[in-house]
């Protein structure tokens, strides 16, 4: 719970033909993280299964595309019993998926064209009046003429100016008569003889010709009717195409479900990637597994291969620590917190996992800063009410709500009313100095704890120098404790002397000496660095401690905000009073509640994690049997 699980480097050797089944077995166990750089290229120079992997990638990509556009339901989709999928079967599946996707793609393309046609006809209908307004014989526009070349059509509006100039070179005139939905409708006319050149320019401009109804001039009503019929036909065609698309999906659905299941069986072997190397008939697979799971892994392999495999497992070597993935297994109530910890980073292997510390301190600080029985219970109830949306974060929201309610009991506050409940401890505003002092103690304790964790982490890293001499190490801790001691002596009005000076200055000298030693740069620059970093060490410890005053400040602010609401409410009549109280409380829960959450998160990340948590570990990504998209190893 306090650090990632102990891991072992696992090497598995099997016969070439057993490799896919071995991958499947590893995936079934779900505890093996393939490692791409572990096996020697000289001992095992070959990468087997490249064509199989390529087929898988191709099939997977086609299936994903089909599923993206698949609206049909896929009920009761379960993983079948694991089985091997041959390369021939995979090739057949890939080919079938290619065909299905071609059908889907064709349907989509047809729908897109129909949509364009719909827009086109729609615009034509609007253009009829403009055609009528053109002061030319429309008979000329319909059909070809011997000495004049006329085009009627549309181009993207942005292309019109350029098109006019380019057509001008070929001796053509361009006249726009309608602009809608980014398209400009044009009549283009020129003397015959340069038709080819004109056509080339029009094609380059993305020209789309419009057929002029011959009867437009004499019987515009009929033209309009025809166009409406054309639009109806387009819409009907669209419906047909949509149905065809749905039918295509339904027709293939059973096989698509089966394809998902087949690809789930293929994925483990394909996902091994470069973790799989071979020489002749022998295949080696390397990776990491939690030490406690290795016996189960061995037993599973024995059940499947009897004695046809070799499994070796050893603890990570000192130089491998950064390569080892970190497995964090937590109780159900801590799982939402893991997400928040991972936002900062994954713990390095062997490093303290801050999840529990984060959970306890976050929930406690939230309650301290936002202590109110009514507000806390409201947050908890809201968390429960929104559980479908919040999912695993429901527990977290309920926890901070209950923490807030508990501190509300201590402060004696219910929806800001301080007189409804007798405080178990005291209302923050009755003794602000005491609140601020407690916040300082809390902050000092937090900083001491995180510095201790940092010392422990650096020792695990084997970095004794940083653990002992650095400002975040033992020297830093002693300096900070010395500062606290001297500070309290001064505050208490005691006589200070060599003892107070030495508990501060001795560790400080060690820190400064360490900064000097680790910066082997020219003298001037070295002095500058030592002065600046030495000064920063002092400022940082003091400012970080003072930063925790916000814990008290927000608890005071919470009461002050409630007082402000009641003052406003007090100026109004009965109805106005309660409306203001209700709205004020909603504001406090929504606005202040969110600000407090952000402030606590800031304290955790900045004052806590940044002191001891590198967060640059590798996430554990085991081979698994799943129906989802391709995993990335």
């Amino acid at each position: 719970m306090f650090k990632p699980l102990p891991m072992q480097r696992v090497g598995l050797f099997v016969l070439n033909e057993d490799a896919p089944l071995a991958a499947l077995t590893l995936a079934e166990q779900g505890v093996f993280n393939p490692e791409t750089t572990q096996l020697s290229a000289t001992d095992l120079p070959e990468f087997p299964g490249e064509s199989y992997r390529e087929l898988y990638r191709s099939a997977r990509s086609r299936l994903d595309k089909i599923l993206t556009h698949c609206t049909a339901r896929q009920e009761s989709l379960r993983l079948p019993a694991p089985r091997l999928v041959s390369e021939a079967e995979l090739a057949t599946l890939d080919e079938w998926l290619r065909g299905v996707w071609a059908e889907c793609s064709k349907c989509q393309e047809a729908l897109r064209r129909i949509e364009e046609e719909r827009k086109h006809v729609d615009q034509l209908l609007r253009a009829i009046d403009n055609f009528a307004a053109l002061d030319i014989d429309l008979g000329l526009l319909a059909g070809s003429r011997r000495f004049i070349d006329v085009h009627v059509g549309a181009v993207p509006a942005a292309n019109v100016a350029r098109l006019r100039e380019a057509m001008g070179i070929a001796g053509y005139l361009v006249r726009p008569f309608l602009e809608a939905e980014g398209l400009a409708h044009l009549v283009i006319a020129g003397a015959g003889g340069k038709e080819e050149e004109a056509r080339a320019v029009l094609q380059a401009a993305g020209w789309r010709a419009i057929d002029i109804p011959p009867e437009l001039r004499d019987r515009p009503d009929k033209a309009r009717r025809d166009l409406k019929q054309r639009l109806d036909r387009v819409l009907e065609e669209s419906d047909v195409q949509c149905r065809l698309f749905e039918n295509t999906q339904k027709e293939f659905m059973d096989r698509i479900v089966e394809a998902r299941q087949v690809l789930a069986m293929v994925a483990p072997y394909a996902d091994l990637g470069e973790a799989l190397r071979a020489r002749g008939g022998l295949v080696g697979i390397a990776g990491w597994a939690p030490r406690s799971d290795v016996p189960a892994l061995r037993a599973a392999l024995e059940r499947r291969f009897a004695k046809r495999f070799v499994l070796s497992a050893r603890d990570p070597r000192p130089g491998e620590r950064l390569q080892v993935p970190s497995v964090m297994r937590h109780a159900w109530f801590l799982r939402p917190i893991v997400q928040l910890v991972k936002t900062y980073g994954v713990p390095r292997y062997g490093e303290i996992d801050p999840t529990l510390l984060f959970a306890v301190t976050f929930i406690a600080m939230y309650g301290m800063m936002f202590g109110d029985v009514g507000h806390g219970l409201t947050i908890a109830l809201l968390g429960l009410a929104l559980r479908k949306r919040l999912r695993q974060f429901t527990r977290f929201v309920v926890a901070i709500g209950l923490s807030s309610a508990s501190f509300g009991l201590a402060y004696g506050s219910v929806f800001g009313f301080e007189e409804w409940l007798h405080p178990l401890w005291m209302s923050p505003l009755t003794n602000p100095t005491r609140m601020l002092m407690l916040a300082l103690y809390w902050g000092a304790g937090f900083i001491v704890l995180t510095t201790l964790l940092n010392i422990r982490n650096r020792l695990v890293d084997g970095d004794w120098e940083k653990a002992l001499l650095d400002r975040g190490g033992l020297a830093g801790l002693l300096f900070y404790l010395g500062l606290l001691f001297a500070g309290f002596r001064v505050a208490a009005g005691a006589r200070t002397g060599w003892l107070e000076a030495s508990v501060v200055l001795v560790p400080y000298a060690v820190i400064v000496g360490h900064i000097w030693r680790e910066n082997a740069v020219p003298l001037g620059e070295r002095i500058l660095i030592v002065v600046i970093e030495g000064f920063e060490t002092v400022v940082k410890y003091i400012s970080n401690t003072l930063s925790f005053l916000r814990v008290a400040a927000f608890s005071l602010n919470h009461v002050a905000l409630a007082i402000a609401v009641f003052t406003l409410a007090g100026m109004l009549g009965q109805a106005g009073h309660w409306t203001t109280v209700v709205l004020g409380n909603i504001f406090i829960i929504g606005f202040e509640g969110a600000i407090v959450a952000i402030q606590v998160l800031r304290l955790e990340y900045y004052e806590g994690f940044s002191r001891f948590y590198s967060g640059d570990g590798r996430e554990f990504r085991p081979l698994t049997l799943a129906l989802g998209s391709a995993a990335k190893t």
Partner: protein, 343 residues
Amino acid sequence: MGPASRYAYLHGRVSLMGARLLSESVLANLSQAPPDQEAELFEAGGLRPPSEEPPLGASRSLEQRLISNLLADIVVLTRALTGGARDFLIYWAYRFDLGNLKTILRAKLYGESTANVREQLFDMGPFARLPIDELLRTEDVTELLRRLEGTPYAGIARQGRRIYDERHEPFALDAAVDRQYYAGLVKRAREAEGGGDPLRALVGNMIDRVNLVWLLRYRFAYGLPAGETYYLLIPAAYRLGGAELQRLSQLGSFEEVIANVPPPWGPLLEGAPNAAEVTLRLERDTWRLARDVMARGVFTTARAFAYLILREKELRQIRALVKGKRLAVAPELVREAMGLEAA
């Protein structure tokens, strides 16, 4: 960072980076340097010496590293910029992203394998906007353009699709992509430049150069008619305005165009035998202008852009040098490939 500190940061950065650029004479010496002196000179260009490079053709690692160097410079420069100026420099970096797009488009047209195409693509780092994996997973150009409509390149996709529907030609698609890109660059340059800004002069010089070279290629190498040639040029009016380009497009031969190019390029291009030579002479003119802006320019966006032009030139020259040395090409030919003036 306030405006004054941003200005000071950018000015200082560009000056420092500019001071690291290799001069023509250093590059010329580099082309003739014996192997034992190469290491230092390559280091000066921020690169490993050719002997430490992977074998030629094994991958695009050299090109990738050159582009990564340039993109890293753009990241540093854009850090201090805001608004239009920042957009402009970032858009400049997208050229390589569009290079990737064109590679994928060509691969789809010619049915190349995904693995082959992937090897040819550049890693755009923080400037990557193309969903490369998704595009590579498409089955054909139509699907690719459809997928592209959901990206920041939707405008290019729509234009490309209309053109592809009409003409299934790689050239038409490439031309549409390039034209759209440069039109976007001109638009962003206008938003970034102030009155009498040297940025306008730099961008104008570059756009005029591209238009002139395209005009020569489309008209006389691809044999396109005058109207189509003119349409495919970048719609922007700098020194070579619309009327000028229309006039040049209608001329009947390469020599006629060269003879009629207005100043200042007329004398510069006199006697140029082909489009490659025209490109080189015009590029040298752009580099000269960029050096001028670097030396006396005070407006930081223009100086930053001038630096990027010169840095790209330097990286291209180093690439030519590395390839030349690996293939044991004669020093004169290497110098020529590097675009250095004759000794």
